[in-house]
């Protein structure tokens, strides 16, 4: 039993580290996953001192880990929560990982007897901002943790949505946010398959247009989310 759940956990962790659905996660969810992962694999709370307030990332990670340790008393509870999040992101037991092109594979050939002075090889093994040029991508604002209906959708938080509906069954799933988007618009645009599925199960209206006159399926189409286009085009019921 123990082994089975451990391997499910490993599979889920592997899935999350490669799945594109994980790329768009909010920092809050990423941090929760991080905290759970550390708790399950290492210790209930971090052993290192809390990073300085200038190391925003390090500090947030430390806090997340510590929170996981304080929330769950047993590892199995933490694992259950981890798997729950993984499932909401499209992971299922036995899912086959897409074979991503692995540029590291080539480095496996032995070019040097590995007497690396016992110094551990870097895990992320590029040269972040090394000598030469510098790789850049678009700078992002800090994601805020928003627990409203639309906020949960934007964070791809299926579990949160389910809980919200349990607590407030009367919530209007077709409500527009201040920018004119319904939850279905947002989920279809961001490519959150399981949230779209859930909203359709709850009979969300797929014909509503946003302020640009786009329906959910048109948004998914523009963004190239084929699976969601299929879902939205399939007859309801």
């Amino acid at each position: 039993m123990e082994d089975a759940s451990a391997s499910a956990f490993d599979a889920a962790a592997a899935y999350l580290s490669t799945s594109p659905s994980a790329l768009n996660l909010s920092s809050a969810i990423k941090l929760e996953l991080y905290g759970l992962f550390k708790f399950i694999n290492l210790s209930s709370v971090p052993t290192a001192p809390r990073p300085s307030l200038f190391d925003f990332t390090g500090r947030a990670k430390w806090d997340a880990w510590s929170a996981a340790g304080n929330t769950y008393s047993a590892k199995s509870d933490a694992e259950a929560r981890y798997l729950e999040i993984a499932r909401s992101l499209g992971w299922t037991e036995g899912i086959v990982l897409p074979e991503a092109a692995d540029p590291e594979a080539e480095t496996e050939e032995d070019i040097w007897d590995s007497d690396d002075d016992g110094e551990s090889a870097p895990k992320s093994s590029g040269e972040p901002g090394g000598f030469g040029s510098s790789v850049s991508s678009m700078a992002r604002p800090e994601a805020e943790h928003d627990t409203s209906l639309h906020g949960l959708v934007v964070s791809n938080d299926l579990q949160g949505l389910v809980s919200l509906l349990q607590e407030e069954p009367s919530v209007d799933l077709n409500a527009r946010d201040s920018f004119g988007y319904t939850p279905l618009h947002l989920a279809a645009d961001r490519g959150y398959v399981s949230v779209v599925e859930f909203l359709l199960e709850q009979n969300a209206d797929r014909t509503i247009k946003d302020e640009d006159e786009f329906t959910a399926v048109e948004l998914a189409q523009a963004a190239g989310h084929e699976r969601i286009v299929q879902l939205l085009n399939s007859p309801s019921g």
Partner: protein, 541 residues
Amino acid sequence: MASHEIEEIIDTTQENPSDSDSELDNILEEQEAATPSTSAKKKKKKKSKAAKALAALRGKSEIPQELVDQVLDKVKADGAVGSQDATEDNVRQALEHMQIMEVAKGKAGVGGHNKKDMGAHKFWATQPVPQLGEGPPIDDGYIEPSKPREEVRQEPYPLPKDFEWSTLDINDPNQNKEVYDLLSVNYVEDDDASFRFQYSSEFLQWALKPPGYHKEWHVGVRVSSNKKLVAFISGVPITIKVRGKVFTASEINYLCVHKKLRSKRLAPVLIKEVTRQVHLKGVFQAIYTAGVVIPTPISVCRYFHRALNVAKLVDVGFTYVPRNMTTARMIRMNKVSDTPTLDVRPMEEKDVAPLADLFTRYMQRFDMVPVMNLEDVRHQFLSGQGTGRIGEEKEGRRVGQVTWTYVVENPETHNITDFFSMYHLPSTIIRSPKHGTLEAGYLYYYATDVAFEDGADEDGRLKARLQTLIGDALVIANQAKLDVFNALTLMDNVSILKDLKFGAGDGFLNFYLYNWRTSKLAGINDEGDAKAGRGVGVVML
């Protein structure tokens, strides 16, 4: 703060986020490579030195002013949350609060970035570069006088056992491929390890072989037993003018050490060896760039990105959809016209002389610029255009096309009134099931004769013209099916980035001069009277 992707968040082996190694770590350490037999002893000595320094610092309540300034600059440049509230006082307080020596030794990071930077100073303290906190020089000039050839060290620096030096011949397709293979797997990645530069063979041919290049400046390290290329550094000659003073320099680039050898301390010895080779040719200055801060940047610029293929950029995590938008709306907003506004055409051989003239006159606007003769202009702007017809192999491109240079010709005088150029540098998308390559174009040099009209800068005519001109570069980039168009905050770019819908990137580029002092050049920010960007007129590849 840059976003950190899932892999980093759920990493499996790293206990401490600041443990990760980087090539520059190696520079921190004393150069043990040269003396492998005594390295153990040296390490011990090093430790006691560090302990002494630590003790000395503990006794001192004062945090060094330059450190406070540097942190403050960095926090502001990063634009992290709350950075507008950062003041000298609370920075000082925070530095006292954290284990400051850890930073100084390079073990902890500031804002999670540029770990180890401070520690790298140990190597750089031995080099003729301005040291941190030196303050602006009174006069521009060299730090160390040039030496006659016979006084330059004649024998190569020693390498660790089992490695050997190798001069790379970029003309030889096999050796070109070796450099390509080394770089494409081991070269610069972003902080999140999502994208890695992928310099093509054609790109390397173009970048490493400008007029007057020396093959001895293409320095490689091989494993003696199987001759595998495991490290590389290059220099190419460049004539630069910095605040009116012209000198020959070596443009140093592509320092790359195989991932498995990052602990071998190869970087310092590579730098020393290429420096020796440069000295042997009678050149004693160099220019180089880095994403990290080492002693001492003469300028720092920020990357900006103009999305062209929005859906792909969102899909691979290069950009994001703001809360108030959808991808569909971003696609509409970023749509570029199908045809250029100006009457642009690809540069031809006959344009070399007029373009060179326009370029030289235009570049006088900036404090640090390359000086190009006709041969240089032909190489930089014409030689990378590839072969065959546009669209022959890939849509919007010639075969092996690396650069695009377009000119505007006055129909009456046949003078070249404007030009822009860009180069194509793809990145490998490290993990995406759907896309393997990010096709990026980079804004290279440009010029317009509107700049020479009286008052054109002040009344906005220059800005308007540049906006149209670079807007046309976006059209050409889009026709060439590039996904994104990148530019730095240098030259006149700052004035047009916003209107052309560029967004701020999370990457910064620091500019350095070796053995040359000059005060700070305006890059990301104004410096004195110089407007942002106008200090820097050198675009590095």
